[in-house]
């Protein structure tokens, strides 16, 4: 009697695993379609234009190079180099932009004072800072972290300001009535959690802009990272390496974004 029960339970467990796998597949299916479509068009262009493999290598050749770079671990070294820079800069950015954004969202007077500075600096692309970053920091890590900091700072700042400004005044009143005496406790217990969903959106967007900025910074001046992989590929006329770097950037971008979406769904209250 125990065997059928056991196997039924097992079956159910397998069923759930399969369902989860199917769900995961369901989410990645559109990306799979897109990848196949891109490969087909790409292959067609290669065949029709008879492009030389040093200019536009075929998808299969790129896949082969991709496999080599994965096998010898080189790709992971570059991914980690880029990712590490983005993570450090993005965290630094959050550390500065979230408190500043909360202050600006709360105090109209402070916002009036600081807003012109923000609006003047915001349109300057992080890429425009690359020359100065090299002059100031050389080609070491700090220059690249500086560039990504610029690229991640404004999305976090602006979404934090918007998050605080959009708080329903009712929450503030309820917080005051139920014992938030100091503005510190009101910030910690009401304003921060109330604006958190908007802050998380800013963190997600800025990770994307940071990921774009680091590649650009590495293209110009670096000895590691995906941007370097691409720049170096160009110098040694290895278009396949360039494309491997580009594919890695795209795939990782999608991956990071889905991680953030998951975290947002899991932890933010709205």
């Amino acid at each position: 009697m125990s065997t059928p029960v056991g196997s039924a339970a097992n079956g159910r467990r397998h069923g759930r695993g399969a369902a989860l796998a199917l769900q995961g597949l369901g989410h990645s299916l559109p990306y799979l379609y897109a990848a196949i479509a891109i490969a087909i068009v790409w292959q067609a262009v290669v065949v029709l234009t008879e492009a030389h493999s040093s200019v536009l290598p075929a998808p299969l050749q790129v896949a082969q190079t991709f496999g080599q770079l994965v096998a010898n671990g080189e790709l992971f070294v570059h991914i980690w180099a880029s990712l590490r820079r983005v993570l450090i800069a993005w965290l630094l950015s959050a550390l500065v932009a979230i408190p500043l954004g909360m202050a600006l969202g709360w105090s109209r007077r402070l916002e009036k004072l600081v807003d012109p500075f923000i609006e003047l600096f915001r349109p300057i692309s992080p890429l425009a800072w690359i020359p100065l970053a090299i002059l100031w920091f050389g080609i070491g890590e700090s220059g690249k972290i500086f560039i990504v900091f610029i690229g991640t700072f404004f999305p976090i700042l602006l979404s934090t300001v918007a998050g605080v400004k959009c708080i329903d005044p009712l929450y503030i009143h309820a917080g005051q009535v139920y014992g938030c005496k100091s503005s510190y406790s009101l910030f910690r217990r009401v304003i921060l959690p109330a604006s958190l969903p908007s802050i998380v959106v800013g963190l997600r967007i800025s990770f994307g802009t940071g990921w774009a900025a680091i590649i650009a910074a590495e293209l110009v001046a670096a000895r590691s990272g995906l941007g370097y992989l691409i720049a170096n590929g160009m110098e040694i006329l290895r278009a396949d390496t360039v494309l491997v770097g580009m594919v890695a950037i795209g795939v990782l971008g999608v991956l990071f974004d889905s991680v953030f979406r998951y975290l947002h769904k899991r932890y933010a209250w709205s």
């Binding site: 009712l170 309820a174 709205s270």
Partner: protein, 263 residues
Amino acid sequence: MSTGKPIVLESLAKTYETESGAVQALLPMDLEIGAGEFLVVVGPSGCGKSTLLQLLAGFMAPTAGEARVDGARIQGPDIDRGMVFQHYALFPWLSVIGNVEFGLESKGIAKAERHTRAMDCLRMVGLEEFASKKIDELSGGMKQRVAIARAFATEPSVILMDEPFGALDALTRRFLQGELLKIWRQHQRTVVFITHSVAEALFLGDRVVIMTARPGRIKSEIRVDMPHPRDVTAEDFRAYERTIYELLDDELAKTFRPGVYPQ
């Protein structure tokens, strides 16, 4: 157990400064509310009854006069004056019990006791099984029950209620009125309750204050001498209702000029 405290309003007045000039919301008002009394304020919309409650909550300062709770002038929001808002104002990032515990945490009550007391209050409103639910999973009536539990949890001397059942359907409203009365009689807090439902005012209040149209002042006050639970279909209930409607009709007529359709 602490109980309700008396409230005294002395020439309490409020004028708003707007771009088109000063607007008198509340003319100087004198009123004494007894300790543990259930006072209901009714009036046409825009009569300043919400302004009155905001002043009592301490969200803004009066232009003139003052309000005192047990002799102490109201100078800002205080945890000793709880509030139930029309649109609940529960924190959606906290669970049901997290909301009820919020004020207890402010009072520095230890975690274990906080939980026990919050559960007691949730039991009081019949929501103990929903303690760990999210706020957005509740219906409007349930949300307002959580808000009532939150208000009573901190054992304030005064509870201010700003049209708390205004957004609810008639059946839920009737049920919650009864629940509120039970809780109030058990806890003996001073309640200032605002509504524009005359039946609600008469069902709940020890005393009903009727306000004039803007600028608001007290037009009349009526002591309700009927034992609880009150029968809304009884003849004396109807008689009270008629009296109040007559008083209010005069005020409503003033807000609409003759010959002009109200917009």
